[in-house]
Point group: C2
Chain length 209, copies 2
Amino acid sequence: MKFYDCKTAPSPRRVRIFIHEKGVEIPVEEVDLRQKKQFDTEFIRKNPRCTVPVLELDDGEFITDTLAICSYLECRFPEPPLMGGDPVQRARVLMWYMRIVDDGFMAVAESFRNFVKGFRNKALTGQIGYPQIPDLVDRGRKRTAQFFADMDQHLANTEFVVDDVFTLADIAALVAVDFATAIKTEISDEQRNLKRWHASVSARPSAKL
Amino acid sequence: MKFYDCKTAPSPRRVRIFIHEKGVEIPVEEVDLRQKKQFDTEFIRKNPRCTVPVLELDDGEFITDTLAICSYLECRFPEPPLMGGDPVQRARVLMWYMRIVDDGFMAVAESFRNFVKGFRNKALTGQIGYPQIPDLVDRGRKRTAQFFADMDQHLANTEFVVDDVFTLADIAALVAVDFATAIKTEISDEQRNLKRWHASVSARPSAKL
């Protein structure tokens, strides 16, 4: 296997943390997004959507989505389980993963990519150039603030995002919250539950990645 | 269990088809989105995101995301498998599901919800009102056209979206393509692969739902 990563990008960080939590070693190839290496012909052949993370399997097949990669790694390396220990917990992890990506990660990305000059004609990932839409800068910021408030409320009653166990849902939430610093959104002092949870998951060795 | 559905809405249609393909019967409660029943206090208690589908489990827990619901049903009713027969195929199904939802379904929704008058201050689902952004009408339409072209190319070499087996990826693609009629996007005569696949999956009894 080979993991196509970009150390400065938030999306592949989810897989980086997931692999570290599994305690396995997978060879890494760096794809420098700042040098636009994702648009090289050779990389487009691997992933026409021009994104990382990508996981190359032993037979040369490419898996090009975070959730699909984590699901595969969960089957290959079941311990410790990071996607739920039984069908109900697995459903909870998926539900929270989807919610965190949609309401959190994509909200930050919406604000960030429509604001930063380097994305002027690349407001969405992929080969097609879509121009920035200024109204999305503010909408993304508002949605991110709402996401922080929702997570603070949710974490009042649970140690981790799902039950009392660290899962992919925590990984997704950590990456979304940390990504939000790019749009100058941080956890407020009043958001005590979110702050407590963030300090706890950030203390894990995998979070340094 | 109980399945909260809305017969006129595309999102819960994925679960409707999934349940029919499993050959199981699950009691249904209709949530009339046109009557804004998703904003009733009682429904918000079930799903604060104000969306269907929702699956109520036997112990009263609510699962509120299509993928999470399908994952749970796949565990409860393994036959026929609709999410992949082995770890690699499962990864493929998830990868295509995510891609189809992001590039297809959400592209249609982006154009539709920013255009239709009824969504004037509800351009996104959920309790918070976000105003429409006119630029997204055209962007969503362009992305949808690109999605159709990409799917046509992909389906040149495969009977179904993943390998030679009908899966959740086909369900997601069928619902996205049919939803696109709401923004007047249809399969062109030149898109022969997509047309062949669409005729095939539309002929299944589950597609009538």
